[in-house]
C-alpha cells in the first residue's frame, strides 16, 4: 500500500534525528527525540507526537508540518502567531513553543507546541458513556470559545497578515466567489446540485457587518476533549479575517455531526441552544438567516474541498486511499444542500 508514502521526502527516522538536532539548537543543550508517532487523521496536514528529553526532563510535544507538495498552501508561521493571539484572548489552545519557516530543516515549514492530553475522535465524544458530561458541557464551552476567537484583538502586530486580506465585498460574497473559482478550475465533472447551491447562495448574500478572526474549521473534530469537556481548539490552518457567523454555520454542517443528525449543532444539540449560548458569551445577536446561509455555504465548501482532496490523490501529489475516497463523499453534501435549500 502506498498510502501517504510519497508525502514525506524524509523517513520518520530522519525526521526524529533532524528534529532532535533542531530542538537541541533551540535549547542550547542536547535533546533526544523518541516515541515519534504520526497522529491519525488530518488529511491535509501532518501532525506528529513525540517525547523530547533534555537531561532528566522529558516533555511530550507535537509537531505540525505541511505535507510537501500539498495543494492547500498555508503558512505555519501564521498558524503559530494566531495560536498565540488566541491564547491571549482566553481561547483554550495548546501552548505554541517554536516555529521554523526554513523548509530545508524538515522538508516543509513546521512548528512545535505542547501536547494536550485528551481525545480527538468525534465519534467517541458522541457515543461513549464516559463522555456524557462532555456532551452536556460542550455546547456552552464551544460557544464561549467561538465568542473569544471572534474577540481576538486584530490590532496585534503579528496578525497584520489578516488585516491585509480586508476587501470591499462582504466576506460572504468573497467566499462564494473564491469557492466558485476553485470549483470551476478543478471539477473533473459537472455537478448540477452544486450549481443549484451557488444560485441559492448568490441570491441571499448576508450583509455581515462584523469583521473578526474566524477559525475557519470550527467543529468537534478539531477540538481536544476529556470526559469533563473542552480542553483545546486545534487545527487553525484555515483561519482568516471574515464574518464570525461563518464559524457557527460551519459547526452545523452535516458531516460534522458524525451521524448524530438529530442534533444539528456538531451532533451535540439543536442550533438554537448553541446560538443562544454564543449570544450570551459574545454579547452580540446571531442573525439566524445568516447562520443558515453559512451552513449552506459550509456544505458547499466541504463538497468542493472533497473534490480538491480527491484531486490531490488523482494528480499524484499525495497518493492516499483516504483522499481518493473523499471524491465519493461529495454526494452526501449534495443531498444535504438540496434539503437545506428546498422551498
Amino acid at each position: 500500500m502506498a498510502t501517504a508514502g510519497r508525502s514525506t521526502s524524509i523517513t520518520p527516522t530522519e525526521l526524529g534525528e533532524r528534529l532532535s538536532a533542531w530542538l537541541g539548537a533551540r535549547a542550547g543543550a542536547p535533546v533526544v527525540v523518541d516515541e515519534l508517532k504520526r497522529v491519525p487523521g488530518g488529511a491535509s496536514r501532518e501532525t506528529w507526537a513525540f517525547m523530547a528529553a533534555r537531561g532528566d526532563t522529558r516533555e511530550r510535544l507535537v509537531l505540525r508540518r505541511d505535507p510537501p507538495g500539498h495543494v492547500i498552501e498555508s503558512s505555519r508561521r501564521q498558524e503559530f502567531d494566531l495560536l498565540q493571539a488566541a491564547a491571549a484572548a482566553g481561547v483554550p489552545v495548546p501552548r505554541v513553543r517554536w516555529c521554523e519557516d526554513d523548509r530545508a530543516v524538515l522538508g516543509a515549514a513546521f512548528f512545535v507546541m505542547d501536547f494536550v492530553d485528551g481525545e480527538t475522535l468525534a465519534r467517541r465524544l458522541l457515543r461513549d458513556d464516559v463522555y456524557a458530561p462532555a456532551r452536556s458541557a460542550l455546547p456552552e464551552q464551544l460557544a464561549t470559545a467561538a465568542a473569544r476567537i471572534h474577540a481576538i484583538d486584530l490590532a496585534t502586530p503579528e496578525l497584520a497578515f489578516l488585516a491585509a486580506t480586508r476587501s470591499e465585498t462582504t466576506p460572504a460574497a468573497a467566499e462564494v466567489d473564491r469557492f466558485e473559482g476553485i470549483y470551476r478550475a478543478i471539477t473533473p465533472e459537472p455537478h448540477p446540485a452544486l450549481e443549484l447551491a451557488f444560485r441559492w447562495l448568490r441570491a441571499r448574500i448576508p450583509p455581515g457587518t462584523r469583521r473578526t478572526v474566524v477559525h475557519g474549521d470550527f467543529r468537534i473534530g478539531n477540538v481536544i476533549f476529556g470526559p469533563e469537556g473542552l480542553r483545546a481548539v486545534i487545527d487553525w490552518e484555515l483561519s482568516h479575517l471574515g464574518d464570525p457567523i461563518e464559524d457557527l454555520g460551519w459547526l452545523c454542517v452535516r458531516s460534522w455531526r458524525f451521524g448524530a443528525d438529530d442534533r444539528p449543532a456538531g451532533g451535540l444539540c439543536d442550533r438554537e441552544r448553541f446560538f443562544q449560548a454564543y449570544e450570551r458569551a459574545a454579547g452580540v445577536a446571531v442573525d439566524r438567516g445568516a447562520a443558515r446561509w453559512w451552513e449552506v455555504c459550509g456544505n458547499l465548501k466541504w463538497a468542493i474541498m472533497c473534490i480538491m482532496q480527491m484531486r490531490t490523490h488523482t494528480e499524484g501529489h499525495v497518493r492516499s486511499v483516504e483522499l481518493a475516497s473523499l471524491g465519493r463523499r461529495v454526494a452526501e453534501m449534495e443531498l444535504e444542500l438540496l434539503e437545506l435549500t428546498e422551498g
Binding site: 500500500m1 498510502t3 501517504a4 508517532k37 504520526r38 497522529v39 491519525p40 487523521g41 465533472e189 459537472p190 455537478h191 448540477p192 446540485a193 450549481e195 443549484l196 451557488f198 444560485r199 441570491a203 492516499s320 486511499v321 483516504e322 481518493a324 475516497s325 465519493r328 463523499r329 461529495v330 454526494a331 452526501e332 449534495e334 443531498l335 438540496l338 428546498e342
Partner: protein
Amino acid sequence: MQDRPTVQELLIAVREFLETDVMPNLDARRSFHARVAANVLGIVGRELEREEEALVAEWTRLAGLVGGETEPPVRLAALRAAVRELTERLAQRIQRGDADAGDFGRAVRAHVRETVVEKLRVANPKLVGA
C-alpha cells in the same frame, strides 16, 4: 466470459482479507486507511452492480429536461459520455438561472435529487435507506 470467482466474489475476498487479517495488525493510522480501503471496495462492488441501469434512467431523465437522442446509447462507454454531455448542458442551464423557479426548476431539482440519491446508493447506502 471469465471464470469464477466473479468480480463481486473477488472484491469480497479482498475486503475480508483487509478486515480480518490486515486491520487488527496495524497501527491506528494504517488501520484507519485499511478501513477506508475496505469501504472503497464496497463502493466498487455496488457501482459494478448498478451502473448500467442507473445510467439509462439518468439519461432518460436528462433527455426529457435538456433534449437529446430518442434512445440511449447501447454501449456503456458511449452511455457514460452521453450522460456527461447532457449533465454539462443542464449545469449550464442552471448557471444561466433557467432553473431558479417554475416548472423547469422543480423538474430539475427532482432529477438532481434522484441522481444524487443514486450516487449515494453506491457511495454510502446507509444514508438513503437502501
